[in-house]
């Protein structure tokens, strides 16, 4: 069994994600192979919060070039989760 912390990789802190926090929505980078149920469980385990819904999307890697070598950065999965209104908030800035 994979650990919860293998699924949730890191929080995403951007202008957009910070704004969404006011709507109780938090954004994470998660394991690309994980599914919504796993993510929900992992979050509840780590932060002890009640998750209302999980929206996920795959972010394609960007084409990058190092001189003549061409390649891509890895694809990854982004999860925007919404907490129940009565849930406690996630201290997302901790350990930043």
């Amino acid at each position: 069994m994979r650990d919860a912390r293998d699924i949730i990789i890191k929080p995403i802190v951007t202008e957009k994600s910070t704004m969404q926090m006011e709507e109780n929505k938090y954004t994470f980078k998660v394991d690309i192979k994980s599914n919504k149920v796993e993510i929900k469980k992992a979050l509840e385990e780590i932060f002890g919060v009640k998750v209302k819904s999980v929206n996920t999307m795959k972010v394609k890697g960007k084409p990058k070039r190092m001189g003549v070598h061409r390649g891509y950065t890895s694809d990854w999965k982004k999860a925007v989760i919404t907490l129940e209104p009565d849930s406690k908030p996630i201290e997302i800035f901790e350990g930043l």
């Binding site: 995403i12 951007t14 202008e15 994600s17 910070t18 800035f93 930043l96």
Partner: protein, 465 residues
């Protein structure tokens, strides 16, 4: 809300508290200032929320900015509250800074030391009544004569001491003419010491058109090394002799050097001028003496900062003086083999004296409540306007703009205090000791102790100007 305690005579430590709301406000300002300068990945410049900023860089990043605004303001306010006059930049240390809590900082400042005034009215001083003697007038006139000498060509005669001889000369070193040893139509004043010793003396007695050989030895310390200490021969031709003639002290002379028509009037004018000068000097002497006595009577410590500042002022005055003579301070130091520090050290005693005197005077000013009234201020501006040939309004505006109004006011109050002290003093009139003063310059030992102090005091005054 300011607590303060005295550390010693001129050091005060204050604890200043600033309300939490004020701090919060300042932090907000600081955030707005900082946010535009910082780049955080994931955010456009200037769009980083304060929470993110603080989490990422720690709240300290805002403190610095906030303190920069907050502390000087609070410090000024606290100063007004406790009514101290700082003489130097404060030493600040932050005691508490946290969000939601008041800001507390400690400021240690040097303040003007408290002065324990001694007796300052009814000071007994000797006052030398100014007196101008006939001799002084004569001396002045003869100096003037010197300045207006006429040169009269001597048709037939010998070179005499004090004459100006027009000469051609060639110098020979071991039979060969040497470089720089030749000149034509050179005007040499005999007895002026312009040439190497012996040259001018040997010319005495030479007739017009006479060729004379002069044997001289260059001094050992002559600046040209190949000539120093060498015996040389000069062949000198006297081409002309001029005699200096002093003008007679008659009405014509008076007309020439002054606006007066007769010598009688001019002499009277000189007398008046000299008298005025002597009176002025006597007055300043008197003031200096009174101030000195009052200072002696009071208990006062001169803080190092003030002495240092006074010394800096002396030094800058001095370098100004040098500049007028076309020297920089560095050059002067090189010439006299002194350093700035040496000059400062030499002046330290006097500076300390002045600082003390100033402190005492200020205390008296406060105690007796001497301030400059608007009328007096107006008067002062008028006077200044006259000497600068400006409108009084302009002068006033200038001082208001440059923030020097207070300085002027202080000056007036200062003047008042000095006048007060002098008017309150018991003045013993004594006969002038004129000869001694005149002799002082040449004499190694002053005849009487008293005259010496008076003299040095006067020097202090002039050095200040």
């Amino acid at each position: 809300m300011t607590k303060w305690e005295k550390l010693d005579n001129n050091k005060v430590s204050m604890e200043v508290e600033v309300e939490a709301e004020k701090l919060e406000e300042a932090l907000g300002q600081a955030y707005r200032k900082v946010v535009g300068k910082i780049h955080v990945p994931g955010f456009r410049k200037g769009k980083v929320p304060r929470r993110v900023l603080e989490a990422r860089f720690g709240p300290e990043i805002l403190y610095e900015e906030a303190l920069e605004v907050l502390v000087p303001e609070a410090y000024q306010k606290a100063l007004e509250e406790v009514d101290f006059e700082p003489i130097d930049q404060p030493e600040l240390s932050i005691k508490q800074i946290e969000q939601g809590k008041p800001l507390i900082f400690e400021a240690t400042i040097d303040v003007k030391p408290e002065v324990e005034l001694g007796q300052y009215t009814g000071i007994e001083v000797d006052y030398e009544e100014p007196e101008v003697t006939e001799e002084q007038v004569e001396e002045y006139l003869s100096n003037l004569q010197e300045k207006h000498v006429r040169l009269v060509v001597v048709e037939d005669g010998e070179v005499e001491e004090g004459n100006i001889a027009m000469i051609d000369f060639v110098g020979y070193l071991e039979g060969e003419p040497f470089e720089g040893g030749k000149a034509e139509n050179y005007s040499l004043e005999i007895g002026s010491g312009t040439f190497i010793p012996g040259f001018e003396e040997q010319l005495i007695g030479a007739r017009l058109e006479e060729e004379k050989e002069i044997q001289v030895k260059f001094p050992e310390d002559y600046q040209k090394e190949d000539l120093a200490g060498k015996d040389v021969t000069f062949k000198v031709t006297v081409k002309g002799i001029k005699r200096k003639e002093k003008p007679d002290l008659n009405d014509d002379f008076a007309k020439e050097v002054s606006d007066f028509d007769t010598m009688e009037e001019f002499r009277q004018d000189v007398l008046n001028k000299l008298k005025e000068e002597a009176e002025k000097k006597a007055q300043t002497d008197l003031e200096e003496k009174v101030i000195e006595k009052v200072t002696e009577n009071s208990k006062v410590d001169a803080p190092e900062v003030l002495i240092e500042r006074e010394l800096d002022r002396v030094l800058s005055d001095f370098s100004q003086q040098l500049k007028m003579q076309g020297l920089t301070l560095e050059q002067y130091c090189q010439l006299t083999e002194n350093t700035e520090e040496d000059i400062k050290e030499d002046n330290r005693g006097e500076a300390e004296k002045r600082v003390k005197a100033n402190l005492v005077l200020e205390t008296i000013m406060k105690k007796e409540d001497f301030t400059a009234s608007p009328e007096e201020l107006e008067e002062k501006f008028k006077k200044m306007a006259q000497s600068y040939q400006q409108e009084p309004e302009n002068i006033k505006e200038y001082f208001e703009k440059s923030g020097q109004l207070d300085i002027i006011k202080k000056e007036i109050a200062f003047r008042k205090a000095v006048d007060f002290l002098v008017s309150e003093a018991k003045v013993n009139k004594v006969a002038p000791q004129k000869e001694e003063i005149d002799l002082l310059e040449g004499l190694s030992e002053p005849i009487e102790e008293k005259t010496q102090t008076a003299e040095t005091e006067a020097n202090v005054e002039s050095a200040e100007d």
